[in-house]
């Protein structure tokens, strides 16, 4: 029974991935700019451009090109960049992806670490002074654009206090300590806005849960406040949060461009913008596909986690 559910899920996942990849492929082929111009530069004859286009296979029907590209992609070949220095797209992505993933995961982890206690304090005495303070704070943070927050963080922690470096990246292979040391400030920048969102969402759900009878029942058993918040209230309140985390993780991997720029980090955001600037559609295509796959897989995992969060759902699926 359970195996069938998993297989069904997997089937759905593959379907979604096919649709997403085709969508990506279509959109990119609609991108303005002629790849042939990107490759040869200005001032060549129409015949020369046409030859390049034919060479790239751009004259084939769209679907045929998609199938070809998909086949290659499945075997791990995302093609070669069409502009100098003609690097392998997969290699380039594998270089940038860990940076982005690490930033996103670290940022989310930090956000979770901050938002759990904040939301609990807020919800425990909803409407109280602390709750209003936290509410105002999260509103404030959400209204500050991330580049401004990033700049402030750099000014305080890197320039004034000198606790952390700016504008450097240290790969994980150079040692975990070094890596975390360099990743801290950018992750913190990302965490700020996420913390605000997580706190607000979790607070609202917690308030709903804390009004439930089973919370009163736990109280009437003499359970302490901490026990009630963590053991009774948190799990039933975390649906929206977990959903939001799934969306955030996908979003963060592809769109931490401002943070990457501020801290001069070689992540996916910079990769895509750079490639799009050069008209390197093969690179953009590959990068977007990888992000889409991660996004879909993460959200499928989130879906499965609902079953863990609420046993009633588990039964409905089986």
């Amino acid at each position: 029974m359970a195996l069938r559910t998993v297989l069904k899920r997997l089937g759905e996942l593959v379907l979604v991935l096919l649709i997403v990849s085709f969508g990506t492929f279509m959109l990119i082929s609609l991108m303005p700019g002629d790849p042939a111009v990107s490759i040869l530069g200005e001032g060549h004859s129409p015949a020369e451009y046409a030859a390049v286009r034919a060479d790239l296979g751009l004259n084939d029907p769209l679907f045929e090109r998609y199938l070809h590209w998909l086949g290659e992609a499945l075997s791990g070949n995302l093609g070669t960049s069409i502009v100098p220095p003609y690097v392998d797209v997969a290699d380039r992505i594998m270089g940038a992806l860990p940076v982005s993933v690490e930033l996103a995961v670290l940022g989310m982890g930090m956000a979770l670490l901050f938002s759990l206690p904040l939301a609990m304090i807020s919800a425990h005495r909803a409407g109280g002074r602390l709750d209003r303070l936290i509410s105002a704070g999260t509103f404030g943070v959400l209204s500050v654009p991330s580049f401004l927050a990033g700049l402030l963080i750099i000014m305080v922690f890197a320039n004034q206090l000198g606790w952390f470096p700016r504008a450097e990246w240290s790969r994980l292979s150079e040692g975990l300590g070094q890596n975390l040391y360099h990743a801290f400030l950018p992750a913190l920048t990302i965490a700020l806005a996420e913390t605000a969102m997580f706190t607000r969402v979790l607070r609202n759900d917690l308030i709903g849960t804390l009004n439930e009878d089973f919370i009163l029942a736990a109280k009437a058993k003499g359970m302490g406040t901490m026990h009630i918040l963590f053991s009774d209230a948190l799990r039933p309140s975390s649906f929206s949060l977990v959903t939001l985390m799934g969306i955030s993780l996908g979003r963060l991997i592809g769109s931490t461009i401002i943070v990457e720029y501020l801290f001069a980090l070689p992540g996916m955001g910079s990769l895509i913008i750079g490639a799009a600037d050069n008209g390197d559609f093969v690179m953009v295509q590959g990068a977007v596909l990888v992000i889409a796959v991660i996004y879909v897989v993460v959200n499928a995992l989130i879906d499965i986690s609902y079953g863990y969060l609420d046993p009633r759902i588990r039964r409905a699926h089986v």
């Binding site: 039964r315 409905a316 699926h317 089986v318």
Partner: protein, 328 residues
């Protein structure tokens, strides 16, 4: 307990006649919920039929199936001789107007944004009829509301009892022949419950209605009904004239219900030795027991109950019982 058999159906004067009604729907995790499994009953002109049963017995599913909301899986529902099941949507709308329904939770069955005057006029208006104010006032007065006071109110500005009165007024606007009441007083306080029960009796007399009254409270059902149909797990156990319920009911399930009722005016009158069902759980409607569906909780159950479904047999004037062992 069966409910198979049509011996109890009457010949003439039927406002509503229901034969072999089946309601099934897919369960969430697969399988089929057998909510109502082939029941037959009728309501004659001016009669109130009480449908009595505990949660999960199919009484509400049956009530909704009468209204074709949604249509039953199988069976026939005829109102004034006109078949409702399997008719086209447009025809159904015309035929169904003679049958109106009121529900358990009066507040949530009213659109919270509309005012009383519009709520009451809604039925005829959606049918494209013009509604004059005098008629709305007349019906509001008939249900015991002061039109001048409630005219512009919205549901949340009324009490639960007042909302139920509005629901009754809404139903009356369409000149129904049959009123189906699904637990109409179970969310109301005792003092308000009595008001609504009295109002339903008055309304029935005044507008010459027939009624199907679905509820779980024995005394309430007995008070308002002429005949009572006792349901268990989608089947009919017993059909008994209301006046004879307490003394003459024979089905072990009806007896169990009767003996479970705590009565306020008889303190200390608990009879410890009376029939008591084994505390076994209500079987799942996904996989109801074979034969008599009550047998898993019945103190009288024997082998025949598992193998053979009891049919409704006459047990007196207008009284039918579906049981192998209730001495008839």
């Amino acid at each position: 307990m069966a409910g198979t058999g049509t011996l109890h159906l009457r010949e003439s004067d039927q406002v509503l006649s229901v034969e072999e009604l089946v309601v099934e729907f897919p369960a969430k995790g697969g399988g089929t919920v057998h909510a109502v499994s082939g029941i037959s009953f009728d309501v004659v002109d001016g009669e109130t039929l009480g449908i009595l049963g505990e949660s999960g017995c199919g009484k509400s599913s049956a009530g909704r199936a009468l209204m074709q909301l949604p249509p039953p899986t199988a069976g026939s529902v005829r109102l004034q001789g006109a078949e409702l099941t399997g008719t086209s949507r447009r025809e159904l709308r015309g035929r169904r107007a003679g049958m109106q329904m009121i529900f358990q939770d009066p507040v949530s069955s009213l659109n919270p944004r509309r005012r009383v005057k519009d709520l009451v006029a809604e039925g005829p208006r959606t049918r494209g009829e013009k509604v004059d104010e005098a008629r709305i006032r007349e019906v509001l007065t008939a249900v015991g509301l002061d039109p001048d006071v409630v005219w512009d109110r919205r549901p949340h500005e009324l009490s639960g009892g007042q909302c139920q009165r509005v629901c009754i007024a809404r139903a009356l606007m369409l000149d129904p022949e049959l009123l189906i009441c699904d637990e109409p007083v179970s969310s109301l306080d005792v003092s308000v419950q009595a008001q609504i029960l009295n109002l339903l009796e008055e309304t029935k007399r005044r507008y010459r209605l027939s009624m199907v009254f679905i509820a779980h409270d024995l005394a309430v059902v007995k008070n308002i009904s002429d005949r009572i149909m006792v349901m268990y797990l989608g089947k009919v156990c017993e059909i008994v004239p209301s006046g004879a319920l307490k003394e003459s009911a024979r089905h072990p399930y009806t007896r169990l219900l009767l003996e479970s009722v705590p009565e306020a005016h008889l303190p200390g009158a608990r009879d410890e030795t009376s029939i008591s069902a084994t505390s076994a759980e209500l079987p799942s409607p996904l996989d109801p027991p074979s034969g008599c569906r009550f047998r898993t909780r019945c103190p009288l159950a024997t082998d025949v109950c598992a193998s053979e479904e009891p049919r409704l047999r006459p047990a007196g004037e207008g009284h039918y019982v579906a049981c192998h062992h209730a001495d008839l």
